[in-house]
């Protein structure tokens, strides 16, 4: 009797759960994309920026990385409003995650760029490439290979961190699961289901990452 009724409950709750999954995917996607774009800027500023810019960006990353994501989420929703920047819960949530993501991606990008031997830049300059050409054709392709595994990790972290948006009332997967549980009192199976769904999402991201990594691998 029990399993049938659990499956029945899933069936009844299929739309709220699906919309929870959908929202989790959308939030994670937006946060990862925005955070990555911002993070590349952060990483390049840390590597090539003039000293004042570097200090400023260093302060930003250290501050963000030292702050719990939950605090960022709450601050972005409640505190920004007090300085006249009232965001809706969705925007505030995505902003907080994107900022968090950017500080991590920034460090990954900086690390990867700095790990490339200086001789690479010198050889590129020696054949007459400008800084832009050196970056595009020589440094970036090497950095990307270095960045990819850590970046996939960060992306998976973002999916997990998106659960924190439930606290400001975003109906992502965790909150919609909790709402179903409140109705059915079946906490264990539904939390298990939510866990399995998160696992599937991250498994998908990691498989994709491994595939790209394999495709880009340089023979040696």
């Amino acid at each position: 009797m029990e399993p049938t009724s659990f499956l029945e409950h899933i069936w009844i709750a299929r739309w709220p759960l699906a919309s929870g999954v959908g929202l989790t995917l959308i939030i994670s996607f937006l946060a990862i994309v925005a955070g990555t774009i911002l993070g590349i800027g952060v990483g390049m500023s840390l590597t090539y920026g003039a000293r004042p810019l570097r200090w400023l960006v260093r302060g930003y990353t250290d501050f963000i990385r030292g702050t719990p994501v939950l605090v960022l989420v709450l601050a972005s929703y409640y505190v920004l409003g007090t300085i006249g920047l009232q965001l809706g819960p969705f925007q505030a949530g995505v902003l907080a995650l994107a900022v968090f993501c950017s500080s991590h991606v920034g460090e990954i990008v900086r690390g990867a760029l700095q790990a490339i031997p200086r001789g690479q830049t010198e050889a590129a300059k020696a054949i007459g490439l400008t800084f832009a050409g050196t970056f595009i054709y020589v440094l970036a392709p090497q950095a990307i290979r270095q960045i990819l595994p850590a970046w996939v990790n960060t992306a998976a972290e973002m999916v997990k961190a998106s659960t924190l948006l439930s606290i400001i009332g975003i109906g992502e997967l965790l909150l919609s699961t909790q709402e179903v549980i409140a109705r059915t009192f079946m906490s264990l199976p539904f939390y298990f289901l939510a866990g399995a769904l998160y696992f599937l999402i991250n498994f998908g991201i990691e498989s994709l990452g491994r595939l790209v990594e394999r495709k880009m691998a340089v023979q040696s």
């Binding site: 001789g119 010198e122 300059k125 020696a126 054949i127 007459g128 490439l129 050409g133 340089v218 023979q219």
Partner: protein
């Protein structure tokens, strides 16, 4: 109008408080093969790196084919040229490095053609044809699709030389190109350089291979404490050094 391809006048360079070049003067005529010897820290490599502006220099001038490298002097003020202009001037010279510095994510052919396509703006076919010619010249046609990680040190250095020379530079700079190689791989690289010398390529070669310098150089420069200590034709210099410094250096190096 002078007949020299390269003219270095009163070149000065410091790293912080350490003055590495203390006024170097040096000329290269077309097809000169000049080997630069001297103990480490004497400024050989720094001089080479100033010529293609991998290092900024503090005073003096470098002229290649009548063109002032790196700096403009206007109203008595010395200004670094714009980055784009410096990039263009760097392509006047080709450089081979001690550590090869091949691009690890590109094949041998792609390493050679990158500059041709992105700097010289040649079409892919034309660039590949030039790449094939030079890879054949250094004996590596069969390795064109291999990545640097699949090549031996000597092979990598030969690809690196092909990459530099494919750009058709007016002057080739070699910075201790055999120092990082296993002894049995040194010769294949030196052969390539000898071959280029026979072709009339103008070259400035920093080397520790005294025998090679003796055989291939039209002139040898002995750098000592940031200045040119002695220069002349290799036979005279190696057999009858005029300064005690050079005599001591030759004694301590493997040449005898």
């Amino acid at each position: 109008m002078s007949t020299n391809l390269v003219e270095i006048r009163n070149l000065h360079k410091s790293f912080g408080k350490v003055e590495v070049l203390k006024g170097v003067n040096c000329d290269l005529a077309q097809s000169d093969v000049v080997c630069v010897i001297g103990s480490s820290g004497s400024g050989k490599t720094t001089m080479l790196r100033c010529i293609n502006m991998l290092e900024d220099f503090d005073a003096g001038t470098i002229t290649i084919d009548g063109e002032a490298i790196g700096y403009d002097v206007r109203d008595g003020k010395r200004r670094r040229k714009p980055e784009k202009e410096i990039a263009r001037q760097r392509a006047l010279t080709g450089m081979a490095f001690q550590q090869f510095n091949l691009f690890p994510h590109l094949t041998a052919m792609e390493n050679v053609t990158l500059g041709l396509i992105k700097v010289k703006k040649l079409g892919r076919d034309e660039a590949t044809a030039i790449g094939e010619r030079w890879l054949e010249r250094v004996g590596l046609s069969s390795r064109r699709d291999n990545y640097p990680g699949q090549l031996s040190g000597g092979q990598q250095q030969r690809v690196a030389i092909a990459r530099a020379i494919a750009m058709n530079p007016k002057l080739m700079l070699f910075d201790e190109v055999t120092s990082a190689l296993d002894p049995e791989l040194v010769n294949e690289v030196l052969m390539v350089i000898r071959d280029l010398a026979r072709d009339g390529m103008t070259m400035l070669i920093v080397t520790h291979e005294m025998r090679f310098a003796h055989d291939v150089a039209s002139r040898v420069i002995f750098m000592n404490e940031g200045r040119i200590g002695e220069e002349g034709n290799p036979r005279e210099m190696f057999l009858q050094p005029k300064t005690q410094r050079l005599a001591a250096f030759l004694k301590s190096s493997s040449f005898n």
